[in-house]
């Protein structure tokens, strides 16, 4: 039997997380060894919010019946999860070996210069954020840059501004600021 407090907490948690995630968690709990699905659940939460906030992880903890310490511990272990909001468009520069050898560092430098932010940061207008990826498996087309889910192949530093332009970035305006 669940206590009244537990039910109340569960109800609260269900409001915080989007419905598909809540039902996914419920389906996982029907299976044997539900804790094995923790990472998939966190993936789904991050997919929805773009990051994992403390309240999201608390809600996961309540609904999955896994201690918060463990949920945060797991989330912080894996590089894929991040804990601050990301921009509307998430840009990742691959810094895997192939991309590195082919000059991805220079592409990253240009990107940082254009957006005037560092890796892991988001622009003030919340439009763009920069992350570093470790190989997306398109090494033969290095260097590779991702904007949201779209992969750009063989990117040269001089093309970065144009690519950002596709997402509403205005290089001239940004330089004027």
């Amino acid at each position: 039997m669940k206590s009244e407090l537990m039910l109340k907490e569960e109800a609260k948690a269900k409001v915080i997380l989007p419905e598909p995630v809540v039902s996914y968690i419920e389906s996982c709990r029907q299976k044997s060894r539900p804790e094995s699905h923790l990472i998939s659940v966190l993936h789904k939460v991050q997919e929805h919010f773009g990051y994992l906030a403390k309240e999201h992880m608390d809600a996961v903890s309540i609904l999955m019946q896994i201690p918060t310490a463990k949920v945060t511990g797991v989330a912080s272990f894996y590089h894929y999860f991040n804990f601050t909001p990301r921009g509307k468009h998430r840009i990742s520069i691959c810094l895997g070996t192939a991309c590195f050898v082919k000059g991805a560092g220079k592409v990253l430098d240009r990107l940082k210069e254009l957006l005037a932010i560092d890796v892991g940061q988001t622009t003030v207008d919340r439009q763009f954020s920069i992350d570093v990826a470790r190989c997306v498996g398109a090494c033969a087309l290095a260097p590779v840059m991702l904007v949201d889910d779209k992969v750009y192949a063989e990117v040269k530093p001089d093309q970065v501004a144009k690519i950002l332009g596709e997402y509403g970035f205005d290089a001239k305006k940004a330089a004027g600021k």
């Binding site: 797991v74 070996t97 470790r134 087309l141 590779v144 530093p157």
Partner: protein, 721 residues
């Protein structure tokens, strides 16, 4: 024949019939590559355009479909046009506009656009017939007559040069009936060739159109699927596609297509005609070794797990592919997902596991999707779940996603991660085969290892072990990338030399630059210089040369890369990925990285090289898991082979490759500068001064050494020192 086998063959027949109705009966069949890399290159747009064109012209006898990646990534998107009686045309670098052109000329007009094909690009002339003569060491001996030359002589004698072209292929695994040669487009493999037979073929086949029946090889091997479609292109002809046998051939999201290439026959054969021990023995006999990096004999691992008594056992496919710069496993899954499932079914049966997991990295969304589609289709067909294939055996497979931790490729960490925990390794023994997932006996195998299992079962362990070297059997897939002309997937028999891979299949270095090193094994491997290029690729030889086989990443490095910078790159990676459980790895890699940073910024001290080596040795000997144990490898191998470069950084404060920002300066050559201002416009700081048509000057105190002026100057006036 057993009932399940009868049923499978019936299903195959039905699938073939459906496929025939849908596509094979068409006059022309177009396939468009579809994979992460293909899509990045723009394959989706091309596919859409071709569909539109077919609709617009209301063509009933032309179909378009999807296939996985062929592995020729630098030429993507790849579009293949297949029609009876013609060599398949492989179009490269396709765009919607080029698709229009191909459609107009080839699909509607029947005339292939030669200048857009891979063949033409590779310099093979257009011809009606192409003879591909095996150049493998069994077929092509100095002591026997040269079959390729015999073909050329006979062709010249009959003045058929315009009609027949001759090329050379790598060993196609038919040594026992060699010398062999394959004839396109008729798809005839000739065996036991002698100059006399060659004369007969040229006369009877190439002039008369009648194959010389008594010398046609009649066998059927699952490994002989790829060659008939792609082998006339040298890049592919120099490979032997076992693991990647179906990649680029079948639609990865169609179970019918997998069934039509004898899919799941190996699984049914093992379940109905072999005992688990038979399967283990066959795999042991094949000599197959783990492709995930360690090279542990797969049969021995399975045998150990089979012997364990337990209610519950597991088999896991390791699709974490952590080496940053490798994509063999991604391509295999994206191109042929059912093969992995079949390998797991066979492995599960052999060791007594009823549940399998694929642990796959989250960075591969398309591979995940393809696996999900495949699992769903297999379940629906009764190939997964209860009483699979109508036998008494139950087996199912689930996916578990990684989340970007390199250490989770290590098997004990991977197990933790599937259990929903932080991926920290634990000491072994006990090995997972004794106590693994949830404490139960567990076998973990790499994607490529599992993809070889159906080959071992169907083409036989004896044949499998006839390919490769004494201790390394079969083939190895490499993800060739970096500064090499042909980038992509290369599958060659074990024992092929690095030189053959980089220069023959890979086509050498891009842009006329000088070869410097080839990196194998990723962050756990090493860099090998020119002098090691004749090393054969097999587990022992690569280790002896100071690198490792690894999982298959192969990055070619040219003179523009600095070896101190490369070492720093790898250490930065491992240091960041260290899980932190044990001190030598956690602290040691950090200290090594600091020393490397010091060297590359010009503050290197005498004795730093020795310090790196000593520290590396300690980390290797005392770390808990493979990550720490291998972390110093890149540094050690680079010092071993490129010590002078390290010394130049330390003693002369000079970076010979001009990479390390702390050691280079940019300046303008007063004589060469014409004052065009291009550098000034590019400089982001900005710190370049000068009036138009006057010599420009760089303010050294503010220069951030981004190198943009260097690249901008068309007059070679910006100097990098």
């Amino acid at each position: 024949m057993s009932k399940p086998m009868e049923r499978l063959l019936e299903l195959r027949q039905k699938a073939e019939k459906r496929l025939f109705e849908q596509k094979f009966k068409a006059r022309m069949r177009i396939t468009v590559g579809s994979a992460t890399c293909e899509n990045a290159a723009g394959a989706n747009e091309v596919h859409k355009r071709i569909e539109e064109l077919i609709k617009k012209h209301d063509l009933k006898d032309v179909v378009v479909g999807r296939v996985g990646c062929t592995g020729k990534c630098d030429m993507e998107p790849v579009v293949t046009v297949l029609s009876a009686g013609a060599i398949p045309s492989k179009y490269m670098h396709m765009t919607p506009e080029k698709a229009d052109k191909v459609f107009e000329s080839h699909i509607l007009g029947g005339k292939p656009v030669a200048e857009l094909t891979m063949r033409q690009q590779a310099g093979t002339k257009a011809a009606h017939y192409v003879v591909s003569v095996c150049g493998g060491s069994h077929c092509h001996k100095d002591t026997t007559p040269d079959i390729g030359q015999a073909f050329k002589d006979e062709i010249a004698k009959h003045k058929l040069e315009g009609k027949v072209a001759v090329t050379r292929s790598a060993c196609q695994g038919l040594c026992e009936v060699g010398p062999v040669a394959f004839v396109y487009p008729d798809g005839v493999m000739y065996q036991k060739l002698t100059p006399e037979v060659v004369a007969k073929i040229v006369k009877q086949h190439f002039t008369g159109g009648q194959p010389v029946a008594e010398n046609v090889w009649q066998g059927d091997r699952v490994t002989n699927r790829f060659f008939p479609v792609f082998g006339d292109v040298p890049f592919f002809g120099r490979q032997l596609r076992m693991t990647l046998r179906n990649c680029g051939i079948i639609d990865p999201e169609s179970l019918d297509e997998y069934l039509s290439v004898r899919g799941y026959e190996a699984a049914v054969k093992t379940l109905t005609m072999m005992t688990p021990q038979d399967v283990v023995d066959a795999v042991t006999k094949s000599g197959l070794r783990g492709r995930g990096g360690g090279g542990f004999p797969t049969g021995v691992k399975w045998n150990f797990a089979t012997a364990q008594k337990s209610e519950e056992k597991f088999i896991i496919c390791n699709a974490d592919e952590g080496d940053p710069g490798a994509f063999m496993d991604r391509s295999t899954i994206e191109g042929d997902p059912h093969t992995i499932l079949e390998g797991m079914i066979i492995g599960g049966y052999a060791i007594g596991a009823k549940q399998g997991y694929v642990y796959i990295r989250a960075e591969y969304p398309l591979a995940i999707k393809r696996l999900e589609v495949a699992i769903e289709a297999a379940r629906k067909a009764g190939f997964l779940g209860k009483n699979i294939f109508g036998t008494k055996w139950d087996f199912d497979i689930d996916l578990r996603l990684g989340a970007g931790a390199f250490v989770c490729g290590e098997e004990t960490a991977l197990i933790r991660s599937i259990e929903g925990d932080r991926g920290m390794p634990r000491p072994r023994p006990p090995y997972p085969a004794a106590s693994g997932l949830w404490g139960k006996p567990t076998v973990i195998n790499n994607v490529e290892t599992l993809a070889n299992i159906p080959v071992v079962i169907l083409d036989g362990p004896e044949w499998f072990s006839s390919i490769g070297t004494e201790k390394s059997k079969g083939t190895k897939v490499f993800a060739l990338a970096g500064k090499v002309c042909n980038t992509g997937l290369v599958e060659v028999p074990m024992g092929t030399t690095l030189r053959e891979v980089v220069f023959e299949v890979g086509g050498g270095i891009r842009g006329g630059k000088k070869f410097k090193a080839v990196q194998t094994g990723g962050p756990a491997g090493g860099c090998l210089p020119e002098s090691c290029l004749d090393t054969p690729v097999d587990y022992e030889s690569l280790a002896a040369a100071g690198s490792i086989m690894g999982s298959g990443g192969m990055i070619v490095i040219d003179e523009d890369s600095c070896m101190v910078d490369m070492a720093r790159f790898f250490l930065d990676f491992t240091q960041d990925e260290s899980c932190g459980k044990c001190t030598p790895c956690r602290e040691g890699t950090k200290r090594m990285l600091e020393i490397l940073q010091r060297i590359s910024s010009g503050r290197g001290m005498e004795g730093d090289i020795e310090k790196l080596l000593r520290l590396g040795d300690t980390i290797k000997k005392t770390s808990l898991c493979g990550l720490g144990q291998a972390a110093p490898n890149p540094v050690i191998s680079m010092i071993k082979h490129f010590r002078d470069e390290y010394e130049a950084h330390i003693r002369e404060k000079r970076c010979p490759a001009g990479v390390c920002a702390g050691l280079i300066t940019y300046s303008v050559d007063e004589v060469k500068c014409i004052g065009c201002g291009a550098c000034k416009r590019k400089c982001p700081v900005p710190c370049i001064n000068g009036k138009p048509k006057e010599v420009h000057v760089i303010d050294q105190s503010r220069c951030i050494k981004c190198g943009q002026c260097f690249e901008a100057c068309k007059f070679d006036a910006v100097k990098r020192k």
